[in-house]
Chain length 552, copies 2
Amino acid sequence: MGVPPVVPRCAVWRRWAPLGWLTGCHRSASAQQGGTNAPGVLRQRELPRSAAPRPCGWRPRSRRALHAAAPSWQEVMLTSERYGVRRLPFSRVSDGDVAFFERIMPGRVITNAEELKPFNVDWLKSVRGCSKLMLKPQTTAEVSQVLRYCYERNLAVNPQGGNTGLAGGSVPVFDEIILSTVLMNRITSFDKVSGILVCQAGCILEKLSEYLEEQGFIMPLDLGAKGSCHIGGNVATNAGGLRLLRYGSLRGTVLGLEVVLADGSALDCLASLRKDNTGYDLKQLFIGSEGTLGVITAVSILCPQKPKAVNLAFLGCQSFAKVLETFTTCRAMLGEILSAYEFMDEKCMELVERHLKLSSPVTDSPFYVLIETSGSNSTHDEEKLNNFLEQAMASGLVTDGTVATDEKKIKTLWSLRERITEALTHDGYVYKYDISLPVGKLYDLVTDTRARLGPSAKNVMGYGHLGDGNLHLNITAESYSHSLLDAIEPFVYEWTARYNGSISAEHGLGFKKKQFIQYSKSKEAILLMQHFKAMLDPKGILNPYKMLPSSS
Amino acid sequence: MGVPPVVPRCAVWRRWAPLGWLTGCHRSASAQQGGTNAPGVLRQRELPRSAAPRPCGWRPRSRRALHAAAPSWQEVMLTSERYGVRRLPFSRVSDGDVAFFERIMPGRVITNAEELKPFNVDWLKSVRGCSKLMLKPQTTAEVSQVLRYCYERNLAVNPQGGNTGLAGGSVPVFDEIILSTVLMNRITSFDKVSGILVCQAGCILEKLSEYLEEQGFIMPLDLGAKGSCHIGGNVATNAGGLRLLRYGSLRGTVLGLEVVLADGSALDCLASLRKDNTGYDLKQLFIGSEGTLGVITAVSILCPQKPKAVNLAFLGCQSFAKVLETFTTCRAMLGEILSAYEFMDEKCMELVERHLKLSSPVTDSPFYVLIETSGSNSTHDEEKLNNFLEQAMASGLVTDGTVATDEKKIKTLWSLRERITEALTHDGYVYKYDISLPVGKLYDLVTDTRARLGPSAKNVMGYGHLGDGNLHLNITAESYSHSLLDAIEPFVYEWTARYNGSISAEHGLGFKKKQFIQYSKSKEAILLMQHFKAMLDPKGILNPYKMLPSSS
């Protein structure tokens, strides 16, 4: 298990009583880790920095080994070749088209092949298109002009925000025009009384967070990709992230949208009201539509107060049943201050320790739990947390643990959870699944997958946002193999479907998972989605080849 | 001002320090009010018991005086006559149709005219249809059978829950078949770990609340009509209510729906997952669609823990600017425990005291504020509340106030706010408006309306859910008059539109406000809504004459 535990394992509840003592643990833990807890780690939750690209989605035509280090853009196989996709009969961009766009947005039309490269490849370097044109509008009117023109010319368009998507939805499959929101980064207004922010779609999430924090507010969502992702892209993919347990999904916090439809018409649903029952809530259709129904150009969003106190407890549990019981207990006792309940199994801890040389102050448990509280009064919050911890220890729900109250130590403990994805990439080829399940069933999928695969897998492990019912199931092997993939899929999808789970909890379907939608949605629902798509984008020019299986 | 104040007005902040003393205030207040605080008052927030029906919406053809006491069903003018509506060319129910329905749901087919009466008239007794047939399905399959038949036969259908709607959306306009969810009242499941409840659409909100409270949970919404309204109807109208400030809207808490479409096909979106990004979120289209796109037959909803401590503060402010500043201060200091922030002006207090003989322990202020906290630790919550109150008094934001911590006293103070609607009905004919506005503009509408109307109105007053930006603007007069109505409308709608507000914050458009939708929604948005309606219900049989203006 690598580095020995900093804090000797000890099951007496009294250990929890003096919070100062517990905080003391962390100083040691932090000191032992030294420089390994690199700055920026908190920014990279869920996003493997050097993850090998994995052709999840339907089977790639060419099944070459994919367990090597992430290839550069040049090395990424074209999506169309790897997956055997046929180009739809859209027009091809002509010199006349480029000249038109140059006229309406001079200097913001990119045709240089080198410049275009990073926008043709996804962050995971797993899919690649060959767009020859990127446009950078600054206003909704310009987006309208572009789409009106493209619609008339039958030119396909790939809306792109920060290009941080994990399902291959943010880059072209062929030569779609990349319509980037990178220059649409103005904050329109912020009302400190209502907490409502209105901004353009291209604002970077982290910039918005910084802006709000100066005024005592926070964004209702926080993501690993916050340093790059655009709020418009977050809304378009209905991003989940780290604050969902506390502040709910974007479907509740997004109050208004401005959207440009495929034919170029602008739809103004940019209300800044908490309540509005005048007609169908059209904006909901665009939240999570992954750019296939319209291009989001502006967002109105409700922002919570910045919490004054944040605490974190990192605990060891002897079974998954106890992880669940600890969750119900802490939810009851921490109530309104609970802001995260994450779990990881011992395999995850083993890999984090082995590959990243992190050391945990809590060791030798089959399961680990990370509990975060956010509140308005540090004394009250610490007292609540201590009461809960005393009870959890006394009743044997948890057998070991530690608590942090200052930001640095909190980051150190968070890193044990958030660097799992990074650790996995050092373990070999990784088969990744992002699954929603009824919370009681969450870990059974890991157990069943482990039993099914036996020694053919190197490691099978589970971790994730337990409070949201979101499991990250990961399987590692020395290298990619057809037979192992066939043993995993469709087994995992079928298992998930049996318990009415979702095969994509927060990443969306994008390009790579679109053919598996039927595991989570009924035929009738998929048909209705296709009708909506046909109604709003009859020529299918918006983000083609994504999200929905083709109608045929 | 009627009954003298129980607690002498006193602006020194020290008054707030000993919470015991403050609680003492209430015992006096409660004793003075005696039996006037009738049980069930808390259940009747917003719903005037004897409100005169007001033909809001477009102008009624016959403008007779409407300020009399609520008429019985027999006296309510037929909607078609009052508003001059033309019946659309749907088929008429034949004996053969009745026989068919009797075969599929024997004993649950109502054709008796007397029995049908209460289901043809709305709760406000302001609109009346003349349906000759009510069906009471028990299962989704039966709803499917009914709609498939009606769709083929071109028979119009009026889905009905508890018939508590305030916009005339829940009763037929002509002879639409009433499709009642009254017998669809089974709870399917409740998961104590996730807090997710799944139930049929006809479950009464209060019954669900009682069921959940036994298990330590609450419904995420609470309404005046909770004793009658159905959860399916709540979802269909996107009901707001008293818990929205804390738990957010149904768009965030409803996790899944089962819906039967106009042609009888059942759409299963009944997921019980907090996260699911597999395709467009179809259920959102049915939330708030007022039965015009499909019949909701089952609901999956995320329920919060029952708070262990509830506190209430009732305060006096010297200006609306101070009401707003008090809001931002208390939101910052109470943070996660703030569960309601309501306000009322002195006119409201005057009428509550004069007409209902209630007495307030806080008097002589131009504005009153009601602040509720809900949390998991009473000691912490009271300390937070006291800290806030000390600061609010010290900085002159509030000049007087009182606090209650036990349920009975809390109800007594709530009654000052929640019985305003009832008090208004004793003041003459009431012109009622339910408006969303940017919170900073909320009271300007009251001031401007008062200035505009001058002595032609008896009283102009404002109160509402300030925390949600929801104003209840009310104007009373000795009797209904055309000229006063013309002075108010479209002035109020135009004023609201100028500040991008909503002409219906929480009641929906129903039948009575459908022609005013353009004050809150753009032409493009309305057109798109009409396209959705045409796509999902091409024959227009579902709740016709409601929500959307006719396409022509």
